[in-house]
């Protein structure tokens, strides 16, 4: 039930949309795939229907041509290279949360700081994996580095995340409007139920 809350579409600092590689979020969940313009969805649906028969066998084997290719490429790229974030530009968020993604097969260490010099950085992830969800960030600038977990490994250049929450005044106005609509709905139902009795 309920309308899903979704992650903000990742954008660069100048507002351009960033396409994240290998993004696989369970659909059907609020937090699932980002909404697309209607035409884009229809185009994708049409393209998918055309390839339906071809993907049938692969789907039953638990993968798809697209994801298999992407995984193969990602693994190939990751072989023997230092771990690095897949984001090509700085990130921004208006909800205080985002997902960090990287290419790596070996264990990695991800660190977070509030300055690009990574002073007073703290480790927020250590282990194997390719994604990390961070949330609850207040307004401000955040920097992340990733490095091989092996001792002495050099960290990647810091990835910048700018968090600027949405307008509080707009949020309060919309909350007030919602409360009014809800109160009116409850009033009509309860008044009607009382009269019915």
């Amino acid at each position: 039930m309920g309308e899903p809350a979704r992650e903000p579409t990742p954008r660069s600092a100048d507002g351009k949309r960033i396409i994240l590689a290998g993004r696989t979020r369970p659909p059907g969940h609020p937090g699932g795939p980002h909404p697309r313009p209607h035409r884009r969805i229809l185009a994708r649906a049409a393209r998918a229907l055309l390839t339906l028969i071809g993907t049938l066998a692969l789907a039953l084997s638990g993968t798809s041509a697209t994801s298999a290719d992407a995984q193969g490429e990602a693994q190939g790229e990751a072989q023997g290279e230092a771990p690095a974030f897949t984001h090509e530009e700085a990130l921004s968020s208006d909800n205080g949360y985002t997902t960090l993604e990287w290419d790596a097969e070996r264990p990695v260490v991800v660190r977070q700081a509030s300055t690009p010099a990574m002073s007073a950085a703290r480790t927020i992830f250590e282990g194997t994996g390719t994604r990390l969800f961070v949330s609850g960030l207040a307004d401000g600038d955040y920097y992340f580095t990733i490095a091989d977990a092996a001792p002495g490994a050099a960290p990647s250049p810091p990835l910048h995340l700018a968090v600027m929450h949405q307008s509080l005044s707009r949020a309060l106005w919309l909350t007030a409007l919602g409360a009014l609509v809800f109160a009116a709905t409850v009033f009509v139902i309860l008044r009607g139920a009382r009269r019915e009795r």
Binding site: E3, P30, R131, G136, L168, L177, V181, G192
Partner: protein, 474 residues
């Protein structure tokens, strides 16, 4: 730790899947033996009591979204996120008095489509059918997709097989047993889900104290405790109104109002809401504990299973697998049953074969259930994530139907012009706001616009509806 490995070995996942599949299909066959007519199949003979009624109301509303999304919303939007999700229970609470009214006005009704056709005429009925079928089919597709993905993530079962098995099982027992089987299995599923979530909640508390969780959140995720978190504030009433719209219009809930025994519907929905209300808090609390428990989260929707596996180990992973499977089944079966009944009654019977016998209608409903299952399977098979996002467009559509339904049930002066205009204007402006502003205002704007139009038309209307016209639904 590795955060992207399956929590269970595939053989154990398959064993659990097989065991529960046999159980649900067996129960569906058993409960389906008594169904002779369409009324038995679609409305369980209109004889569902309070215990089954309350359980099915709660279980149907506990979808995979509840067990997976409630933790996600808590992790994204904090304490307000948990509250926003729990407001969905208000849909059940407010539908309680409405269900009694529906039973009183339409003692022989079958679907929510009957109400729109008899109350507002064929134009409003057509708009309603388009809106509700869009909502129901996209919800069905998203649930089946989520099922395949979740089973794959939890146990490594390939997406195609997991999605196919869970869909096939639900289609099989819904076809055979109708609403009776759906409600019966819902009863068992709701017990499993509620007990499972309570056990998990206490297990988490045994591992980490509330003080520790609060300290961790204050230090690492301060915005989750912020009372003035803008996105979370906006989510509260938007989610609430989306939830109201979902419950008020959809035949999943109307069919239960018609199926419950006389005098049971109001109590059953209220009790169902009470059972459901604490679940988002328990599930959300699990997510807020992830930082204190040092559980890295690769994606927000996986926080629940990861925390449970960390706290309870293999036993917890088995538990979350069972809970997710029950959550999916209890919603997919209800959607299949309610949507097939809607198509059978509102399209086949009303438009194509008005003279069809009860036996023919029952057989038709079963074939439509199978057809819906096949349609869903074909759409889900390529695993196109963007298709599921279409579900989000349903927010303004269902929000725009709230006021035509509420006033149509209680006000004689509620008019067809108000209902048609309210649905079209509300949905239209809501969709525009979806793209122009964001998803977090779409349902709210749609409901507000629809409300203003419906109220204006009702105030200006000179017509007074004759309630006895609704009794023609049989």
């Amino acid at each position: 730790m590795s955060v992207e490995q399956a929590l269970l070995p595939p053989w154990l996942g398959w064993a659990l899947l097989l065991g529960f599949s046999v159980l649900w299909i067996g129960l569906g066959v058993y409960w389906g033996r008594r169904n002779k007519s369409f009324e038995d199949h679609a409305l369980a003979g209109r004889n569902i009591g309070l215990a089954l009624g309350s359980a099915t109301a709660a279980a149907t509303w506990i979808t995979s979204n509840t067990t997976m999304l409630a933790p996600q919303m808590a992790l994204q939007l904090g304490v307000w996120g948990m509250l926003a999700y729990s407001t969905a229970s208000l849909g059940l609470f407010l539908f309680a008095p409405m269900a009694g009214r529906i039973r009183q006005l339409m003692p022989t009704g079958y679907t929510s489509g009957d109400f729109f056709r008899l109350r507002y005429g064929r134009v409003a009925w057509g708009i309603f059918l388009a809106f509700t079928l869009f909502y129901s089919l996209t919800w069905l597709v998203s649930m089946a997709m989520a099922g395949g993905i979740l089973l794959n993530t939890l146990s490594g079962i390939p997406y195609g097989w997991g999605m196919s098995v869970i869909l096939a099982v639900c289609v099989a027992y819904t076809m055979r047993g109708g609403l009776g089987a759906v409600i019966g299995t819902d009863f068992i599923q709701s017990l499993i889900i509620v007990i499972g979530i309570v056990v998990v909640g206490f297990a988490v508390l045994a591992h980490v104290g509330v003080d520790e969780i609060h300290t961790n959140l204050s230090r690492e995720r301060p915005e989750l405790l912020n009372v003035l978190f803008p996105a979370a504030l906006m989510a509260i009433f938007n989610n609430l109104l989306f939830g109201l719209g979902e419950v008020f219009h959809n035949n999943v809930w109307w069919s239960r109002a018609f199926a419950f025994r006389e005098g049971v519907a109001g109590k059953a929905f209220a009790l169902g809401g009470l059972i459901w209300f604490p679940i988002p808090f328990a599930a959300g609390f699990i997510a807020l504990a992830s930082g204190a428990l040092d559980v890295p989260v690769p994606s927000a929707d996986m926080v629940g299973p990861l925390v449970v596996a960390k706290v309870l180990g293999l036993g917890g992973a088995v538990g979350i697998f069972v809970i997710v499977f029950c959550s999916l089944a209890s919603s997919i079966d209800s959607l299949l049953a309610a949507t097939s009944d809607l198509l059978t009654e509102d399209v086949y019977r009303r438009l194509l074969r008005p003279s069809a016998s009860p036996e023919t209608l029952k057989a038709t409903a079963q074939w439509i259930t199978l057809g819906l299952g096949l349609f869903t399977w074909l759409v889900c098979l390529p695993r196109i994530g963007t298709l599921a996002s279409v579900l989000f467009f349903a927010g303004p559509l269902v929000g725009a139907m709230i006021w035509p339904i509420v006033t149509g049930l209680y006000w004689r002066r509620a008019s067809t012009t108000g209902a048609v205009g309210g649905m079209l204007l509300g949905a239209g402006v809501g969709l525009v706001s979806y793209f122009a502003i964001g998803f977090y205002v779409a349902s709210l704007v749609a409901t507000a616009v629809s409300m203003v139009w419906v109220l204006t038309c009702a105030l200006l209307s000179r017509s007074r509806f004759d309630w006895s016209q609704l009794r023609e639904a049989s």
